[in-house]
Each structure stands twice: as structure tokens, then as C-alpha cells.
Subunit: 397 residues, 2 copies
């Protein structure tokens, strides 16, 4: 019977699930048959884990409630949160001091680990879920990067007719994850593929390829930085982060783009190449695109843009920052077809302040740009799904 134990446990789990009643339903982010986490119509989340010998368990939503769970007589610990905003919320459990993921949840790479997350549905929103429309494909590719000296993994989206209309060439959007996430984020957490499928079915955007790269890099032969004893934010750490950002910039421009253009039916010129990213990926986007306007003409910063490495807490100086590319609005508009910046209204104050300051700086410098505020969402994926939904239709028109 051993062969069947795995599947039998799944069958049993679904049986338990069927016995439950009430308004709480298993989250769509759960593994097959897992009864918890559960979500109700108001966005309240129930978590339940078995830990008969634990003395304390804390539920740790990264951008949400942090609550002590309560031990029940059966050895399970439970908690119900206040209503959460719609969207995908990362969380971990802290069991007697150990930060771990909840095995009822599928894993989503964030915070440098395969973390848990719960999806709170947005009533009436269908733009990021699979609909009965033609679906593009998500591909994984490996490219041998001379910059990094390793095989690197990237995800791609190709639009629905890519395989059948084999004489058509497509523009490309390079789309980056945030700090602590990886190249899987825009598909698993963001549902970028479904967002594009649905926009394309509605004829709201141009067919395009999306490339999602792994946003960390170290140059071939470069040793990891020795930061022992160096405090957070120290000059040594800033240097290490700048080195990594520069290695990533070279990997994108010298390894990834040539690989994509050589292996896929792209329109390989600046007028048909965009880059956008969220948080850390937004900062990488500004660095990569503004250093390489020969390669890019569409730029998106989702809850991250000019960034602390370049500006710190000051305003943009259009005359000097980013090689003075913002100094002459007329020249800028000739080169950059779209500059897009966004932030959620419920993001942390310092985050919002940085994006608002950049928006003001661009206004003062008379640089045309789109500034989008996502209502009632935090530094989380619902903001970035909305960003992509607003951003993609503006590309390659």
C-alpha cells in the first residue's frame, strides 16, 4: 500500500475539507486538499497548524497583522485575522522562535525563502485569473552568462499565437521582481501571464513577449563580499549592493538580451524594448534603462524607481542625476516613449514619500510621465498587478 499513501492522504484531506461549512473557504493559494488557510468574504483569514508540543506560535503577515495563535485541546493552533485588503499576502509562522512556512500553503519565493502566502480575492476582479480566452505560454529558459560565469534561469511569457504565427516578431518587456523575490514572482504571485492573456483578449494591449530575469548576480570569479561585523547600511554594504546591481546590469544587457534576441522572434531594437520592475526591480529598471537608452525606450517603476542608492532622501536633480537625461524635456521625449511611476496608497510612508518626491521632481523638470496610485493597497502584489494592467496597454503603441 505504500505506493498509495501519498495520494490517499490527499483524498482524505479533501474529505475533511468537504465536512467544513460556513463562509470561510480554503484559499486558492493552498496545496491540493488543504483545509487551511481559509478566507471569508470580508477578507478575514483563518490559520490552523498542528504543533502539539509548541509553547508559542506567532502568525507573521509581512505587510499585515502579527498575532499570537491559540492552542486548542487537540494540539492544533488557530487564529482568525481582521479583514485584509484583497491580494496576495506573504506570511510565515514563528514556532517557538523558529520562522517557518505553513505547509498548508503553496510556497511563494519572497524574503529570500519559499514563504507562505494567502490570496484574498478582490470581488469582481477577473483580470488576473484564468479566463476562457486564448492563453500564452510561460517558458523557463537557461542561458549561459559570460558575465556571471554560470547558467542563469529566466521565465518568459509568449503570447497566444507565438507558436502558430511563426513569421511574426514581437516587442519585449523585461519585467523584474522585488528584493528577496526571484524570477518566479511575476508568474506565481503576480499572474502576469493571465493579466496579459486577458488584456490581449480584450484587445487592450499589443502582443508582446515578457522576460523575467533572476535579479541577483555576481561577476564570474568574484568572491562573495565579506561583510562580517559591518552594520546594516554601512558603506561596505552599500558597495556590495552597488556591485551586485552593476553585475545584474551587465548580465541583462550583455548576456540576457542577446540570448533572447538570438533565440526568440523579437523585434530587437530600442523602440520595441521595455523594462519595468517592482521595488528593487524598479530601481534596477531605472539604472539599466537610463544607462542604456540605446536599448530601451519604455520605462516602468512600480513602488520603486530612482531609489536610495542614487538619490537617498533628496529630490531628483535633473541636470546631474542619471547622466542629466532629465535635463532637456524635449530631448527626453524623443528618446523615451513612456516613463511610468506608481505606488499604492497604503504603502509605508517612507516608500510613498520617495515615489511622490520623484513624481514632484519630474513635474518640476517638465518630464512627461504617468503617475499611478493604486487605491488602498500596500507594498504588495495587488499594487503591482494593477500597475502591470495599467502599464502594459501603454507599450509599443
Amino acid at each position: 500500500m505504500k505506493l498509495w499513501v501519498g495520494i490517499a492522504s490527499l483524498v482524505l484531506a479533501t474529505a475533511c475539507w468537504a465536512q467544513e461549512s460556513g463562509i470561510f473557504q480554503p484559499a486558492s493559494t493552498n496545496v491540493w486538499g488543504a483545509e487551511y488557510p481559509r478566507v471569508d468574504n470580508a477578507g478575514r483569514v483563518q490559520i490552523r497548524v498542528k504543533a502539539p508540543d509548541a509553547t508559542q506560535i506567532r502568525l507573521n503577515f509581512w505587510s499585515g497583522p502579527k498575532m499570537d495563535m491559540e492552542k486548542q485541546a487537540d494540539g492544533f493552533w488557530t487564529v482568525t485575522t481582521p479583514p485584509l485588503a484583497p491580494g496576495l499576502h506573504y506570511y510565515t509562522l514563528i514556532i517557538d522562535g523558529a520562522e517557518v512556512s505553513d505547509i498548508g500553503s503553496h510556497a511563494f519565493f519572497g524574503g529570500g525563502k519559499d514563504a507562505s502566502a494567502v490570496e484574498v480575492p478582490e470581488p469582481g476582479s477577473t483580470y488576473y485569473s484564468p479566463q476562457d480566452v486564448p492563453h500564452g505560454a510561460v517558458r523557463e529558459v537557461w542561458y549561459n552568462s559570460k558575465v556571471a560565469g554560470t547558467w542563469r534561469h529566466a521565465l518568459m511569457y509568449t503570447p497566444p499565437n507565438y507558436d502558430t504565427q511563426t513569421s511574426v516578431r514581437y516587442p519585449v518587456l523585461y519585467l523584474q521582481h522585488g528584493g528577496g523575490e526571484d524570477e518566479t514572482g511575476w508568474i506565481r504571485q503576480g499572474h502576469a501571464n493571465f493579466i496579459l492573456d486577458n488584456l490581449l483578449a480584450a484587445k487592450s494591449c499589443k502582443p508582446m513577449i515578457i522576460v523575467m530575469a533572476y535579479g541577483y548576480a555576481r561577476r564570474a570569479g568574484q568572491a562573495p563580499p565579506d561583510l562580517s561585523g559591518k552594520p546594516f547600511g554601512s558603506p561596505e554594504m552599500m558597495k556590495a549592493m552597488q556591485d551586485m546591481a552593476a553585475a545584474f546590469e551587465d548580465d541583462v544587457t550583455q548576456a540576457l538580451i542577446p540570448y533572447i534576441d538570438a533565440n526568440f522572434r523579437t523585434l530587437p531594437d530600442r523602440d520595441h524594448r521595455a523594462m519595468a520592475g517592482l521595488s528593487m526591480g524598479g530601481m534596477q529598471t531605472f539604472q539599466v534603462t537610463l544607462n542604456h537608452l540605446d536599448l530601451f525606450s519604455y520605462i516602468g517603476g512600480f513602488s520603486g524607481a530612482a531609489g536610495p542608492l542614487v538619490l537617498g532622501d533628496r529630490k531628483l536633480d535633473p541636470k546631474t542625476d542619471f547622466h542629466g537625461v532629465f535635463a532637456d524635456p524635449a530631448a527626453f521625449v524623443k528618446k523615451v516613449h513612456l516613463l511610468w511611476v506608481g505606488v499604492g496608497t497604503k504603502e509605508p510612508e517612507r516608500m510613498r514619500a520617495g515615489l511622490l518626491r520623484l513624481h514632484d521632481s519630474l513635474e518640476e523638470a517638465k518630464i512627461p510621465h504617468v503617475f499611478y496610485e493604486s487605491p488602498d493597497t500596500d507594498h504588495e502584489w495587488q499594487t503591482w498587478r494593477r500597475d502591470l494592467k495599467d502599464f502594459a496597454p501603454r507599450l509599443f503603441q
Copy 2:
């Protein structure tokens, strides 16, 4: 600075890593920068987790050692295992009674959850790692299954020239995961894509498409079975498992195969269609292929084949089992180009006995088949990687 916390923590983690010395190295299955798990040349594994307030932590290798970890003065718990066989070993940690994954490890879906795993390298083996050869693509597809009444997710491998040689059509191998695993297993755990890349580069096998389906299904409108109070192995549970297997069979033959043949450049006939699977997937393979010899002509059972649902502990009866397809060897050989069965020499005795008994039954019935024993490997992925390496070159010749 908040924007940079994620990436900064990764930079710091790599710094710690660089400070370590000795023969233990971080496992290739770790998340970026995670110092533990570590593996030495003999296959010993070191695990280390932070859990300052825990009272007991047990390391739980599913097909390997189960050991108590030791608490250190700094709040970390550590353990070093005896040497493990080469390959990928699933494990979890049991922290004060809670079974959880190790956040130093990437997640691998097994046992119905995103579990941890550690890769112990096989000295000199390069056949399942990326080499400097042309790489095929891994694709994710979603198909709208009328059988299941839902969108279903599958992974595919297309060979290196699929995108450029657009007039070529390819044979297809349907390749299934085991019980408790999912459609990601053959790529993430098995490295099926690298195995095929390397076989193709050596001209050891024919170019083919591989399709990896999600091996659980429930018919549209069918309620989950109510198994409350029913013991493991009860008639009700067996019925539930048979229902799931039958729904999967219909999904493969009525939804998945038509979708693949309609959307990819396949050779859509039985002479160019194979199916294989591991453990539960091997049993599904026997059921699906032997019920549909109009669709398949190559059959592989990796550590799973006829299976307990059909045979229990008895020998195969060639006259009656599987519609008597094994009754006439000459007729069988005309229909089935390859019947392949394998098992690892270190698999649990009952598992080995089942496969050996099937092998004997086939010998007695004079049914030509390949029987392969993987030396020194257990009911784990190293067995199945070797199986695929032996099986794939025999297809479509």
C-alpha cells in the same frame, strides 16, 4: 532603506557563507546565500536552524535518517547525518510537534506539500545537470478540461530546435510524477529537461516533446468523497482512489492529449506517443496506456506499474488482467513497441517485491520487456533520473 532590506539580507547571507571553511559546502538545492543545509564529499548532510525557544527538533528524511537535532548556545539547532546515497532527498523538520519545511532549502512539492530537499551530488555524473549544449525549453500550459471542469496546469519540455525548425513535428512522451508530488516534480526534482538536453546532444535519443500533467483529478461537479471515519485502505477509500484514477485517465485521453496535439507540432498517432511515470504515476501509466492502446505504443513503469489497485499482492494473470492484453505475446509485440519496468535495489522490500513479481509474471507470459534495476538507490529521484536516462533512448526508434 526598506526597499533594500530584502537584497541586503541576501548580500549578508552570502558573506556568512564565505566565512565558512572545510569540506562541507552549501547544497545546490539551497536558496541563494543559505549556508545550510551543507553536504560533504561523503554525502553527509549538516542541517542548522534557528529556534531559540524550541524544546525538541527532529530531522525527518523521508527515505533516510530520522535524528534529533541538538540545541547550541546561540539558539541554533544542528545535526550531521551519516553518509546518504547520491540524489535528491526530501526532508522536513519536526519542531515541537509541528512538521515544517526548512527555509534554507528551496521548496520541492512532495508528500502533498512544499517540502525541503537536499541534493547529494553523484561523483562524475553530469547527465542531469546543465551542460554547455543546446537547451530545450520548459513551458507551462493551462488547458480548460471539460472532464474536470477546471483550468489545469501542465509542464512541457520542447527540444532545442522546436522554435526554429518550424516545419518539424515531434513524438510525445507523457511523463508522470508520484503520489504526493505534482506536475513540477520531473523538472524541479528530476531535471528531466537537462537529462533530455544531454541525451540529445550526445545523439543518444530522438528529439521529443515531454508533457508532465497534474496527476490528480476530480470530475466536473463531483463532490470530494466523504471518508470521515473510514480507515486507511477501507473499501470506501479504494473506491475514492479508483474514481480519481479514472477521472485522471479521462482527463489525459479526452482533454490533455487533444489540447497538446492541437497546440503543438506533434506526431499525433500511437506510434509516436509514449507514457511513463514513477510510483503512482507508473500505475497510472499502466492503466491509461493499456486501456488505450489505440493512443499509446511505448510504456514505462518506474518503481510503480501494475500496482495494488489492480493486482494487490498477487501475480499478474496474463489471460484476464488488463483486458487480457498480455495473453498473446505475438499480438502484444505488434501493438506495444516497448514495455519498460524498473526499480531501485535499495527500495523498500514490499516495493521491490511488487516490481520483481511483475517482471517474473511477464517473463512467464513471454512478454518482451526491459527490466532495469538502479544500483544502490531507494524510492527516490536518483532512481527515476536513471530510469529516464535508460528509457528515453529506447523511444521512437
